[in-house]
């Protein structure tokens, strides 16, 4: 019973915050609600017994990436007064139409493509501690993707530094 309550509460909050993120007038509000959204998603992961990914989500996503965004938003808005960065025409009709098309595609895929067996109850706790098994998998079966990911991060770091430097 507790799990059901948690799921519905969390998903309602997640979707609510997501809507606010894309309709927020000022960028800082959008970022704040994005952080809130990520925290609720992390809560959802805990409900799904994925503690490690939940903590990483809070640490890396909410605690790292979105701070990057906040920095840039603050640097960008430094000179102009807050009102100037309101998006006047944010509810453009064309955009809504295009996203409706995407929704229709999704519905089509869901109906025809994926005929899942009657989805059994998502159950069955995971005995061994979640952290150990994720770690175990990460360093045995998925070692190569792990190294590739670290290379990717290195390249991204260098790229970001080169792009953002003032005098090259």
């Amino acid at each position: 019973m507790g799990e059901q309550l948690a799921f519905y509460a969390l998903s309602a909050l997640i979707l609510g915050c997501a809507v606010i993120v894309i309709t927020a007038p000022s960028a800082v509000y959008a970022i704040l609600f994005l952080v809130l959204d990520f925290l609720f998603v992390a809560g959802l992961y805990v409900v799904l017994h994925a503690q490690f990914v939940a903590v990483i989500q809070v640490l890396v996503y909410a605690g790292g990436i979105v701070i990057l965004y906040l920095f840039v938003v603050m640097l960008v808005n430094l000179k102009r007064p807050p009102e100037a960065q309101r998006d006047r025409r944010r509810r453009s009709r064309l955009g809504v139409a295009l996203s409706a098309v995407v929704l229709v595609e999704f519905a089509a895929i869901a109906l025809y493509g994926y005929v899942a067996p009657e989805a059994g109850p998502a159950g069955g706790g995971l005995s061994f501690s979640n952290v150990e098994r994720v770690g175990w998998l990460l360093y045995t079966d998925y070692l190569v993707p792990f190294e590739l990911a670290s290379m990717l991060l290195l390249v991204a770091m260098i790229g970001a530094i080169v792009l953002a430097r003032r005098e090259l």
């Binding site: 790292g64 701070i67 906040l70 920095f71 430094l78 952290v131």
Partner: protein, 341 residues
């Protein structure tokens, strides 16, 4: 039902009130120690030897007028101090204050929640605290606090990397992420991790100093440079929240240091038979003793060392601490493989 809801609630209430009281008296302790170092008395007026000074401070901050700057962003301006304080308080959930104590017949463990990702939880929660500082500076809508908040957040983020890397090397030697597990690992190995990981301890303490904006890294609210740092525009209760958060962070850093490096609630030499009598002292007394020892270190450093400049502070963070922490991880890994443990 009772074990699931009532006891944790009691634990939480007890820990939070305990922390808030300790924080209040930590402020007094700091002023007294700094005064003692500087050949003066410190607060003596309120109550005998200034004992009631924290009460006076809290009352003053309650009563003082809460000014909001005119063009400040009202919502974020109010939320910022809360965003700084809440992560500092919720990090206490995983800290094991002691092994266990039996009250009215029931065995209650002194760690509120023994989560298997304990240490990562603390780092994750600590990284959320940065938001309050950035938003605090940004929403006060004036030049000084904005610059100071940018500097403070850059400092926090870069030292967080160093502190997380020291945690990795401790996890390597402990084998588990959960805090209670780490203390048990120190019990089984019979020696505190301070001696197993001395380098990690030093890096952690320096990182901890920088994480809590304490001297010699207390640049953000360095009076002599930018006026008052990111909480210039704050007054009254909101300023008290920032102040409270700093000291709570200090307590967290020292209690994590106690758990990780000084063997949580274990007496000095855990399984040395000759010192078995030390076990008669209840576990949480050992924990408090060691935490206050490290807190004293914090206060002592503040009274003696001058302050780093911003670029030197970043240089130490990136060019000294992080490479050292990485090297320490590699060394720990190699030693662990060689010893085959």
């Amino acid at each position: 039902m009772i074990d699931l809801i009532v006891i944790p609630l009691l634990q939480i209430v007890f820990v939070l009130t305990g922390v808030l009281i300790v924080v209040m008296y930590l402020v007094l302790l700091e002023r007294k120690i700094q005064a003692w170092v500087q050949v003066r008395f410190g607060p003596m007026r309120v109550g005998p030897h200034g004992i009631l000074q924290p009460v006076a401070d809290v009352l003053k901050l309650f009563v003082k007028e809460d000014i909001t700057p005119v063009k400040a962003d009202k919502w974020i301006y109010t939320a910022a101090p809360i965003i700084v304080l809440v992560p500092a308080l919720i990090a206490f959930a995983v800290i094991p204050f002691g092994s266990s104590v039996s009250l009215f017949g029931k065995k209650i463990s002194l760690a509120i929640a023994d989560v298997n990702v304990g240490l990562l939880y603390i780092v994750a929660v600590a990284s959320l605290g940065v938001y309050g500082i950035i938003l605090g500076g940004w929403s006060s809508n004036s030049k000084y606090p904005l610059l100071a908040s940018l500097r403070a957040s850059a400092q926090l983020v870069s030292y967080e990397v160093a502190v997380t890397l020291t945690f990795v090397s401790v996890i390597l030697s402990a084998g588990t992420l959960s805090m209670v597990g780490i203390v048990n690992a120190q019990y089984n190995s019979g020696v505190w991790f301070l001696f197993v990981q001395p380098v990690a301890f030093v890096i952690y303490m320096i990182g901890g100093l920088a994480e809590t904006n304490r001297s010699p890294f207390d640049l953000p609210e360095a009076e002599s440079e930018l006026v008052g740092g990111f909480h210039t525009e704050y007054s009254g209760m909101r300023f008290a929240l920032f102040f409270l958060a700093e000291y709570t962070n200090m307590i967290i850093v020292s209690s994590v240091a106690t758990t990780l490096f000084f063997g949580g609630w274990l007496p000095p030499f855990p399984n040395l038979k000759a010192l078995a009598f030390l076990y008669y002292v209840p576990s949480w007394i050992w924990f408090t003793l060691k935490t206050f020892l490290i807190l004293y270190l914090f206060l002592w450093i503040r009274a003696t060392l001058p302050r780093y400049r911003y670029d030197q502070l970043m240089r130490v963070g990136w060019k000294v601490l992080i490479p050292l922490a990485l090297a320490n991880i590699v060394v720990t890994g190699v030693v662990k493989v060689l010893l085959g443990r």
